[in-house]
């Protein structure tokens, strides 16, 4: 491999600087307000069935996110 003075960042979201998280939330909101459709919601599962929701997140039956509803 040729080393080309590349900078590498290994990111762990739990430990981002607070300012970076706040900037991210602001920009995500701006995108949504401008009409970005966001995620496909694949499953909406009530809290009483949370174990099934976790199983669907582990083994998806269709593309998209799993949301627990209350």
């Amino acid at each position: 491999m040729v080393f080309k003075n590349i900078r590498v960042f290994f990111l762990g979201s739990d430990d981002f600087p607070v300012d970076a998280k706040i900037a991210a939330a602001r920009d995500l909101n701006a995108a949504l307000e401008a009409g970005w459709s966001g995620f496909i919601i694949a499953e909406r599962i009530p809290l009483s069935e949370i174990a099934r929701a976790h199983e669907l997140a582990e083994h998806p039956v269709r593309p998209g996110r799993v949301v627990v509803t209350l």
């Binding site: 003075n5 590349i6 939330a25 920009d27 970005w36 919601i41 209350l70």
Partner: protein
């Protein structure tokens, strides 16, 4: 309140319980949110399974970092304007025991954002971890305006957010995907071009046409698998931001 929790780690059906526990109270600098939707992320699953081998961080854990709902109580020092506001929140987990899989969650107000009027609680509950990870992954090396950004895994949750945020940041965005459904997701998120990367030779030939001068910044989901190829694609002195590896 009604809440889901686990007191040991293992398969979902063996460890998750749904039961009653006392309502939490917003402390200083915190808000309490009546949760409408609670998002599930891979990290939530891994913490329940003990994939990291670090055991239970607290004796009882209510899972899920991210959620959305309405503020129904504010703690000391938090402006009353938050009361009643639809919001989304992030970072209720880890470093705190009680996440969003409950009727109420309590979280420091700096981890709460207003939910725009045209956005559902379901969407809000999905934003936190992938959206914030994507934002950092796009901008950690600086602004991307006028740059060519390659998003590896552009059909995933972080990937599609990275595509959208890089596009809004003024980059030329190329996404890579492995299936036609991911291809549709990446295009819908705003990618200028979407390439399949399952055939390495074909991928490199197409990318040489799309970005003849090379790539300025790569958002990477599979660092171990892709790093050698990534370095070849990048211009001298540019950057990779990786949030996962395999």
């Amino acid at each position: 309140m009604r809440a889901a929790w686990h007191e040991k780690q293992g398969p979902a059906r063996e460890v998750l319980t749904v039961c009653e526990m006392p309502d939490p109270i917003a402390g200083s600098g915190e808000v309490r949110i009546r949760i409408a939707a609670s998002g599930i992320n891979p990290g939530d699953i891994k913490k329940r399974q003990d994939s990291f081998g670090i055991g239970m961080a607290y004796p009882r854990v209510i899972p899920h970092s991210d959620g959305a709902g309405r503020v129904d109580q504010v703690g000391d020092g938090v402006p009353a304007e938050w009361l009643g506001k639809p919001v989304w929140c992030y970072g209720t987990q880890p470093y705190r025991p009680f996440g969003t899989a409950a009727e109420f969650t309590v979280v420091p107000v700096e981890r709460v954002a207003p939910l725009p009027g045209n956005v559902s609680a379901d969407q809000g509950a999905c934003l936190g971890i992938p959206g914030i990870t994507a934002h950092r992954a796009v901008f950690v090396a600086g602004p991307v305006k006028g740059h060519t950004v390659l998003v590896q895994g552009a059909g995933g949750s972080v990937g599609l957010c990275a595509v959208q945020l890089a596009r809004r940041g003024g980059a030329y965005v190329i996404g890579t995907v492995r299936s036609s459904s991911e291809e549709a997701t990446a295009k819908n998120a705003g990618a200028h071009e979407v390439l399949r990367n399952d055939n390495a030779q074909e991928f490199r030939a197409r990318l040489a046409e799309s970005a003849p001068d090379g790539i300025d910044h790569i958002v990477e989901v599979a660092f171990g698998a892709n790093v050698e190829g990534d370095v070849e694609l990048l211009k001298m002195g540019e950057s990779i931001a990786s949030y996962a590896t395999r």
